[in-house]
Symmetry: D2
Subunit: 206 residues, 4 copies
């Protein structure tokens, strides 16, 4: 395979990129005069040296020197009683941006599709158990399962709930995010479950 | 204006119908061989005779004989302690279909756009006050404001809350639907408010 | 079936209208205060009296008094040597609006889907033959088949071409619209046939 | 800026990639286990060594050894009498794939936006003139301007036509691609210009 086709194939493996856009990327790099190609090459060369996966939460982070614990997991001012389990680094970012949470995180690294035959290979289950064991003596009281409100997210929630059953006690509870109307939801298009949850979760107007 | 253009203009006033689709409707009716035109004409002729607006909840309904109270408002087995305020007949239908609610309804007949100068003309405020007065002696304890989770819905909620302030008491509370993740919400795309509400509304896994 | 559901079903038969929009139409008419319902009823009542199908070209038209020949077919200043065969009234309108054509029209009233078992019932073939016979003594020299450049349009073109074979002579030719780049076509997205036709139809720059 | 943000910014400069997708690309590469990152790094390292720009047509191509003339420009069996001017490598590919053309190409490397103040910097005008001079003695008789049928394409066509005026002669003509219905065009949606061109370019049915 020639190099143009090879590059197209590589970009075609990127999430959400089809063959046509992949080729467009290649020609973009070839005809680029702003140093994008060189910049990309340099940045990729640094990835191995600079980017680590946090040994506690499992998310990717980078810094001047290679450390193995990320800034969030190192932050002693955070609430040690809560651990939020998310699927991906992206979800971590969305929640941090919301400013609504001050506990710690664990990144599963994926979700479990319905009817998956090897669910244990889809998520970092063993690491999650270890992290919970490590955090219990530090005051962990609640594990929030913060997965997407779609079938794959719910399947993952069920799997993790089962996995964590041995840890459940009156001192360590497992919770899930609240359901209801999310911003933008129109009642007319809301599904019965959302309406039901929004009703059961209704609250006094402020 | 000729009749084809006139019909196009009428259909062009329908919600979500542009001039091109309006014209398509006209030619569809003109070339129709299945009796759609005649059926539509007959159905429209019956509307005035058969369709009423419920004098309690304000929604449209129809029946063999003209009555002025709809089947839901006439149903004595429903929960007289709750009244749900919705914007439109469509929202009523969505909630009925969910099977999650067994109280009564009130249809506002519209919503109040932000910066609307005559909000009182947009919704049936006077009728709402009358209906609440009528329902209090019958055991009304809670009014649920069930508007869309978007700016116009929230603006309407604020307006109705203010309108209903005189009715508020320890025996009559006003609530709004619960916020959180609705079915299909992905955390990655969730806005900060939804995340915040989903977190504060978190609950023990089942 | 109650009247609201009946009206919804009727609107659901309109082209491009799904059940939800159909219901929206119904509530729109029910809550309408601008007289749309009455206007629609009146307009529909006039359709039978006012709208005719031209006995020559077959398109729908209307006028003060019922005549059976439309304004275009009655226009003696038009070019009697050309007849353009189109699928629908809409296509007639698009071509008239372009201002690029001054001959006469014939509306087939439909197109023939691929693998249709009764093609003769899909289009007004008999009327087309009659109209051609009527126009030959009046100077008809060319029949333009102006169908869509998609599979159904091409299938219809093939059917009509076969149908018109007996009429073909050195004095009466049958043509089809030119192919090439249409406004907005980007080469990158153009299919091989379009590129081929655009190449074979290339012409000197102005 | 940290490396994750830097990579996001680089991918965000790719055509059609927004900040969210850029970040998704980064996490995709970080969590990749199939060697995509390494493959991309290696492929990018080869680009400078392996990929050349053809000194005749200006398109990017690659081969085992670095040569400076691409396979198409080296192909003596092609028709030396025609040169097709296209905007981008992508357009070259689309036309080659159509199999409808057997002459040579020249890639402008861009198009000229309407109201562009430095049109000469947008396209490889000087190289085009040189290539034409080189090809005239080899038998060049026609230059086809094959630009998109949109405003930017037409603006570019006008600019190149003016640029090539000195070359025009009875022995060297300049042509543009034919206009008309392209595959998929529906008459109902066709603009007046397309209809006009389709009419003037009509041809006998096969």
């Amino acid at each position: 395979m020639n190099l143009i086709d090879k590059l197209s194939k590589i970009f075609g493996a990127f999430p959400g990129v089809g063959p046509r856009q992949a080729k467009r990327f290649v020609y973009f790099l070839l005809s680029d005069k702003r140093g994008v190609t060189a910049g990309l090459r340099e940045a990729l060369a640094l990835v191995e040296k600079k980017i680590s996966r946090c040994k506690f939460c499992g998310r990717y982070f980078n810094g001047e020197t290679k450390t193995d614990i990320c800034a969030v997991c190192s932050d002693k001012s955070r609430d040690h009683s809560i651990l939020m389990v998310v699927a991906k680094d992206f979800d971590f970012e969305a929640i941090e941006k919301s400013g609504a949470y001050n506990g710690f995180y664990f990144v599963l690294g994926g979700t479990i599709p319905i009817l998956s035959d090897k669910p244990e290979e889809r998520v970092r289950s063993k690491e999650l158990s270890q992290e919970i064991k490590r955090r219990v003596p530090e005051g962990l009281k609640e594990i929030i399962l913060a997965l997407n409100a779609n079938p794959e997210g719910e399947n993952t929630t069920l799997y993790i709930e089962k996995l964590l059953t041995p840890f459940k006690s009156k001192d360590l509870k497992i919770t899930v995010l609240g359901r209801g109307l999310s911003t933008g939801t129109e009642l007319e298009y809301a599904d019965p479950l959302t309406i039901k949850e929004a009703l059961s979760g209704r609250k006094p107007e402020r």
